[in-house]
């Protein structure tokens, strides 16, 4: 197994999950992940593989080259999900759609740094890696995460309380 294949096997799933959670669009997430691994192929040496992979993906997302087209697509997706939430089908129940909507809204209520720190931690990155990706001090990661978790949970609970009251993921 060469380096590229090993990197792909090791990080692809978790990177796509991270990007999907961040972007709310799995196709977009997979494209960013693919581009990340393409860049890894070009990279001669990578010191901290996981931090490098997530940092590149993080920067790619920030790249605004495709922003307009992607934003339109993202809006279409969100509109479709709203319709699905209103008209749940067999594949996605109303509760599940509602949970997804609340989770997305709760995540969106965080600051960009808090959101990224939380998503990166969920993918198993340690504090140093998160600090490297986000360009912050390691000592501030704990505070960032604690703030992000609290805000996420509180925001979700508020949304759930204001909604149907059924989706109680956070409880």
């Amino acid at each position: 197994m060469d380096t590229a294949e090993r990197l792909f096997v090791t990080y692809h799933a978790t990177l796509v999950r991270y990007l999907t959670r961040r972007l709310g669009d799995r196709d977009w997430a997979e494209e960013v992940a693919q581009e990340t691994f393409v860049r890894a192929l070009r990279q001669e040496t990578i010191v901290n593989e996981r931090a490098w992979v997530f940092a590149v993906a993080h920067n790619l997302v920030r790249d605004g080259a495709r922003r307009d087209a992607r934003n339109r697509r993202h809006l279409e997706l969100m509109a479709a999900e709203q319709r699905e939430a209103m008209e749940p089908d067999a594949d996605q129940t109303a509760d599940r759609a509602e949970q997804l909507r609340f989770a997305r809204q709760a995540l969106a209520s965080l600051t960009e740094r808090d959101r990224q720190a939380l998503l990166l931690k969920e993918e198993g990155l340690d504090y140093q890696e998160i600090a490297d990706v986000l360009g912050i001090e390691k000592s501030s990661v704990g505070t960032t995460l604690s703030r992000a978790r609290r805000r996420l949970a509180e925001s979700y609970e508020e949304l759930a309380a204001g909604g149907r009251g059924g989706a109680d993921v956070a409880s």
Binding site: L77, G142, A153
Partner: protein, 319 residues
């Protein structure tokens, strides 16, 4: 006592503290109720945030306007070359032509459906149940429990046949019941005729051998057909006389795991249940049911069987 530092608590719970810090925090939590409460709250927040983020994983693929989303993997990964589609089509057409040709030969007494071919029964995907070397009955010896089936349905069953399963994989196979079809099958398309012509020479010897096996099987069945198979055989004409099969809407039962041997029976409205008296666990654990209308239902373990199908465990004939 200091006030709880939430960031430090999360750092500790995330396993990011040094051993000295961890020891200090453990002492604080053990001796200070405020710290203990803060830690408990932090644990709850961490669990809640993980669950909330987990809900984000249900994100669907983006859907183009008015269309169905194409899986991203399919778009970038495995691609089907045009020639593969053509080849698959030729295989399907050749199979159809073969089935139609089989129909004209009418190898069985009560059998005139294309599916009567023992080869087809032997190899149809999902029809075989069992493991190599554990064949309870050679497919050619299976009692006919037949039913009419339109040619299109027969082709659907036969299509995945031939090379998709290892030969001899059926431990106690599944037989397709056959009775005269309700309507004549459609004529094969021109491409099918060409494919048939190309393969005719190769199939000649094979057909002869199959017909010989069929004759042998009929002789065997005539001598040693079981009560059950006789019952089924008596039901076959009545089933065939029914103009249409009732829809599979009866109270559902759940197909049990196929460990051991099972006897599966079907109500009359399921014109055929293409199963031998006993079936054994196989790699696919798959049954194939065919209704009079030609609908094919593939059933796997845990699927809900409708239409009054019953599966009862029986002693295995083969250890």
């Amino acid at each position: 006592m200091s006030r709880p530092d939430e960031g430090l608590i999360h750092q500790w719970l995330d396993g990011e503290c040094t051993p000295e810090e961890s020891a200090r925090l453990e002492r604080l939590v053990a001796t200070d109720a405020e710290w203990a409460a803060a830690v408990a709250e932090a644990r709850g927040l961490m669990a809640a945030s993980s669950r909330i983020l987990g809900a984000l994983d249900a994100v669907p693929h983006a859907k183009p306007a008015g269309g169905k989303a194409a899986p991203a993997v399919a778009r970038r990964g495995f691609r089907v070359a045009p020639w593969m589609g053509v080849a698959a089509g030729l295989v399907l057409v050749a199979g159809t032509a073969y089935v139609l040709r089989e129909q004209s030969t009418a190898p069985f007494g009560v059998v005139s459906s294309p599916s009567a071919s023992p080869t087809m029964m032997d190899t149809a995907a999902g029809v075989q149940i069992g493991q190599a070397g554990e064949r309870a009955q050679p497919p050619s010896e299976l009692p006919p429990v037949g039913v009419a089936r339109p040619a299109a349905a027969a082709a659907t069953v036969a299509a995945p046949a031939s090379n998709t399963l290892p030969s001899g994989a059926g431990a106690a196979g599944v037989a397709i019941d056959v009775v005269p079809p309700a309507a004549p099958p459609p004529a094969p398309p021109a491409v099918a005729q060409r494919a048939e012509a190309d393969a005719e020479a190769r199939r000649g010897a094979e057909l002869a051998a199959e017909q010989e096996r069929a004759r042998t099987a009929r002789a065997t069945r005539a001598a040693a057909v079981s009560d059950e198979s006789r019952t089924t055989a008596r039901q076959a004409p009545a089933r065939a006389a029914a103009p249409t099969a009732a829809p599979m809407v009866a109270a559902p039962i759940v197909l049990p795991a196929l460990d051991g041997c099972w006897r599966v029976s079907a109500p009359p409205e399921l014109v055929s249940v293409l199963i031998t008296p006993t079936i054994r666990r196989a790699a696919g654990d798959t049954l194939v049911l065919v209704t009079a209308a030609g609908d094919i239902t593939v059933v796997r373990i845990g699927d809900v069987l409708r239409g009054g199908l019953e599966a009862k465990q029986v002693p295995c004939r083969i250890p």
